[in-house]
Amino acid sequence: MILGHELVMSSSAAFAWSILPILLIGLRTTLLAMFAGFVIAVVVGMVFALMRRSQWKIVTWPVGFVVEFLRNTPLLMQLFFLYFVLPEFGVTLPAFWTGTTVLGLQYAAYMSEVYRAGLDALPKGQWEAATALNLSKTRTYRTVVLPQMIPRVLPALGNYLISMMKDTPVLSTITVVEMLNLANRIGDRTFEYLVPLSLVGAIFFVLTCVCSALLRGLERFVPQKGIALR
């Protein structure tokens, strides 16, 4: 019995069928980590990118350091650091949220670079026109810059979403019960690793395909009028 489900070992097919519900419980955690992490990455990444464009060095330097640190150190190290070291300073987060935050922040650092490229790609004339029309900074970003940038960066963000999804098994190292963690547990219990791991692989594969399809749909849905031009 794992998570209330009986394991049937009579044949490989029956075994696979019996562990599927268990893995699907893990899938829920995987999906949740992926979506929560992605929201963190998309939002914080944008905040990073905008802060790095500030005119004050007191803002750009620390943010630049944080982004480079997040980009240039291993995910696993960051994960262990937050999970094992922070409690010593009295900060205790549930494993799931620790993991999701780390995942989200690392990808936020990656995405801030995508946003930066997107912002740099906007012709200088657009900024100048906004200035000439006396639009405020906020208004310029909201109605001129971001609506032109977001459709351009969408494919790159989508890639990171998929890449991030494939990184979620890392969370199992800090005891988060996601798919790979459960597959391992099933293997430890039954000494039968082939079926659970294959199933996890298959589920990930289906998931990536579905996500890619959804993203392609989204890219078509987001208004492209005029944006590809000049």
Binding site: A132, Q148, K225, I227
Partner: protein, 255 residues
Amino acid sequence: MSASIEFNQLHKRYGAHPVLRDFDLKVQAGETVTLIGPSGSGKSTVLRILMTLEPFQEGCLTLDGISYHQPHGKPPFFASDVHLHKVRAKVGMVFQSFNLFPHMTVLRNLVEAPTAVLGLSRDEAEGRAVELLHMVGLSDKAKAYPGQLSGGQQQRVAIARALAMRPQVLLFDEPTSALDPELVGEVLSVIRSLAHEHDLTMLMVTHEMRFAREISDRVCFFEGGRIVEQGKPDQIFNAPEQERTKRFLSSVLNG
């Protein structure tokens, strides 16, 4: 309403490279002044400084008596954002490359800033936008996107967009240089009607010499970051006094 402009001993550098040196220019309210001269002579920079797209380092620039620099302003602009906002409210600019917002319809291009900056209601702003589009002869293009228009049409929309902000000074930075020859006329005729019918101070950088001669109250010939010669168009084009002006005019008019 139009505004007067005064440059007084203005210095502008890019790094160590001087662009404008001891620059003086007075423009009266309602005057139409054309800036001509070889490229790199600082003509466009004059417009860009007026539009606050570029800072300047020394000297004085006033618009209707209001100085661009503030006494304790910090570089690069030596003025607060609020102050720059106030100065910019009087100035509009038409760019060589139009710079319309490609993701907005023509109508939204014209409505965006008046609602956001002047605080007009949507209906009010759209009403004015429709009038302006009529004026530039593009009433039927309100729902089109800039990418669906020809260069000449885009530039006329850009002029309407600048006018929608009710500027007192309108700057034209080579408004026809990016256009195919057959589209230049439609843009020039819009500018011509502005010069005649609107109470605007206009500064224009252009290579259209015949047009400059026709609409200008005054023509300024630039070289090396200074005005070498200025005067009524007839005087500049028929009887230039400076050797450099003669050389430039003969090269552009005969070349």
